[in-house]
């Protein structure tokens, strides 16, 4: 199976060299295959979010290397990393990070602006995406007018608008209700079935039944890796 992400001795150290130095990730070595549902587990403060940030290129490792499709991207320039995020990675943040003054469709369409896609087409594409996520009545609503679950689906739509290979979600169940969790799982499962690679960081056991690869982190160390044969979803 083709490897999409590989890390090699990745460290992330905050306040390096200072008394308050924190080693958030320590010599992380992992490999993620394409079209897998990957769960990164661990207690709070174990480094799950930091690992996701580093893998998704929105943060840089202090040491070590990260390979995307075999290409070392750890020394990539800011421009190159932006291109990767634009084309290959869709990010779903724990607190959604929607732009508060924009309606749902504009939030979803924002990544399309630098691609030169004009408003009519942007609206069409984001509407299609939001309709798929059952948000057809929320196109023109601002984030504050939506529930947590709805906001999360807008964030998912934004992550998927550029049709990325890799969908990364950080603690996606922490700010939504039980029904929204079910919807979320359906969405992620569908994406997996469409050939996407899903990486989720969560301590929520709800993902255990869906995950094919589980990395267990503790105090910034990768202490266990479980590769589960794919099961029918």
């Amino acid at each position: 199976m083709e490897t999409i992400i590989r890390t090699e001795k990745v460290d992330k150290i905050y306040y390096q060299g200072r008394p308050e130095e924190v080693r958030a990730l320590n010599q992380i070595e992992l490999e993620i295959s394409k079209n897998r549902f990957v769960l990164i587990r661990g207690p709070s403060g174990s480094g799950k979010t930091t690992l996701l940030n580093v893998i998704s290129t929105i943060d840089r490792p202090t040491n070590g290397r990260i390979f995307l499709y075999g290409e070392d991207i750890s020394k990539y320039s800011d421009v190159q990393l932006s291109r990767i995020r634009q084309k290959t990675i869709g990010l779903i943040f724990q607190n959604f990070n929607l732009l508060p003054r924009l309606p749902a469709w504009e939030n979803v369409a924002f990544p399309l602006l630098p691609l030169g896609i004009m408003e009519r087409e942007r609206r069409k594409r984001s509407a299609e995406m939001l309709i798929q996520l059952k948000l057809e009545k929320r196109l023109d609503h601002a984030p504050e007018q939506m529930s947590g679950g709805e906001q999360q689906r807008v964030a998912i739509a934004r992550a998927l608008i550029n049709d990325p290979e890799l969908v990364i979600a950080d603690e996606p169940t922490s700010n939504i209700d039980a029904e929204s969790i079910k919807t979320l799982l359906d969405i992620l499962t569908n994406l997996k079935n469409k050939g996407k690679t899903i990486i989720v960081s969560s301590h929520d056991p709800v993902f255990l039944d869906y995950s094919e690869t589980i990395f267990l982190l503790k105090d910034g160390n990768l202490i266990d890796t479980k590769i589960i044969p794919p099961t029918p979803l």
Partner: protein
Amino acid sequence: MNKHLNFLLTSIGNILRNKVRSLVLILCLIAVLFPFVTALSISEGIKFQSLISVEEGADIYVTSDYFGSNAPISLDYLEGFRKMDGVTKVYPRIVGRTYFVNRLATIVGILPENIPPSIRLAEGGMFREKGEVIVGKGLAKEFLLQPGVRFSLSINPSQLFRVSGFFDADASIWSANLILMSFEDAAEFFQMKGKATDILIYTRPGYATKLAEKIQEGAGTSSHDRPEPPLRVQDKTLVKRYFQRGFNYKAGVFTALYTVAFALAIPALLIVSGFGQTERKKEIGVIKATGWQTQEVMEMVALENLIVSLTSAPLAVLLAMVWLKWFNGAFIAQFFIAEIGLMAPFPVPSRFLPLPCFLAFLFAVVLTMVGSLYSTWKTATIPPVEAMR
């Protein structure tokens, strides 16, 4: 192309969505730019008016020369100058200064037949009898003078004057604090009998330069010896140059003061444009995380600033126009016109030229760009996760 159009439209959207921030920024820019535009317009207006005055004045001005400065000249020269070839008219003038109560006034003494026909009176009549004077509207307004009122002046309190009329309020600014009287009255007042501060010579077209050279060399003087002290001859070109230099100096002083204010405005605008910066920082982090590049973020912010500048600069020019028309350039005109106080008692001249308006726009661009581009660049170049924190 579509990409840049997208950024432009998004920038407009951002400005409209962040109404309070945009409004505060535009108001700050107007507050900084409007005095600058007003001042430059006044400076240009005065310069223009003074050049017209010079243009309408004599072709040659002759005074005595004491250590390189103008000094009173004897009236004995008049006849010699009148006889020179190319001269059409010669007359003496006394120009001096004194205090009218606490206000510095300019006294001009001139023979009645030499009063320029362009002089308009708002009230009363021209002086005819000894002691009669025409007073500027500025002085009249400030000291509630009426035709027929008698007064004396500080240098020679025993000499009494009587107001015969006022200059028109729309006359040039030079007439606001002017007291125009007969040549004899002025000579008596300054105790300079037989002398004038300058002799004005009008010439036929094309003669002025040659005549000025001749007078400087001693021609036209009746004495057999070289005149003592030497004469100081200034033709129209030279006078124009003096005026120009004077105004450039004043505009320079204002610009220096303005530069200080401008320097102070930059940190103020940094704070204002940083208004809502925490939210902006997070936004930049989010859009970078979704694949935007630093230069694209910068382009959008630069376009926002450009639109804000394009809005602020014309508003500043408009406000300057209103300020000059309705408030007569209050507080600012005093930088350029001596002794007028906060509110000028006469219409302050102004002239709006394209360059100051363009400079206003340029300053607005510089201020907004300095205020926000650096912070945007700094935010956009850190890892998005840090910007989103």
